[in-house]
Amino acid sequence: MIPVPAFLIASIVLGVLALACIGRAVIGPTMPDRAVAMDTVNTLVVGMLVSLGAAFNAVIYIDVAIIYALLAFVSTLFIARHLEATA
């Protein structure tokens, strides 16, 4: 139906971008740098799951993306609380 598998290519590119973000999490000089990098990885993974669900026309990927976004939000808040407590 699509001439090129556009959503599949988009999800592969998003995976490569998420790996690039992990590079910043490795070399980041301070702890908040690493937290920002992992937050960016979470957003990219949600976009990757949405485009994978559109590529294979499978709704279960979108449901996984919803739950992943909520759990990533909770983990980000706990990391921020931990950073604030260990000032």
Binding site: M1, I2, A6, F7, A10, V13, L14, L17, A20, C21, G23, R24, T30, M31, P32, D33, A35, V36, A37, D39, T40, T43, L44, V46, G47, V50, S51, G53, A54, N57, V59, I62, D63, A65, I66, A69, L70, A72, F73, T76, L77, I79, A80, R81, L83, E84, T86, A87
Partner: protein, 115 residues
């Protein structure tokens, strides 16, 4: 109709790539957060809009019933729009309280208000 899906997806991918480039190029944690969080939120909005348009297209052509894909992507987009700025704000506040200062800033109103 297909060109709408492809152009929305292209805008989304462009902004996600710019966000990751900004994560590498900016000098300190606040400017990195500015680049990465805003650009990836904007790009995710456009990728989700592309998936919504694709689901509507599938429903119009009769390949799926009631555009279930579009409804689920809409819920995912709403959760992403609520959670992403709140998480970024929490990390920025925690970074300022844990002693990481902005590198090139001239004024720091939060520092002055804390004293």
């Amino acid at each position: 109709m297909m060109i709408v899906v492809l152009s929305l997806l292209g805008i989304g991918m462009l902004f996600e790539t710019l966000g990751v480039v900004g994560l590498y190029r900016f000098p300190d944690v606040y400017t990195r957060m500015h680049g990465a969080t805003k650009c990836t939120s904007f790009g995710s909005i456009f990728i989700c809009l592309g998936a919504i348009a694709y689901g509507i297209l599938l429903a119009v052509e009769g390949q799926s019933v009631l555009a279930v894909l579009s409804l689920h992507v809409l819920v995912a987009l709403l959760f992403l729009l609520v959670t992403n700025p709140v998480g970024a704000h929490a990390i920025a506040r925690a970074a300022h309280r844990s002693g990481v200062k902005p590198k090139l800033a001239v004024v720091d109103r939060l520092e002055e208000a804390g004293k």
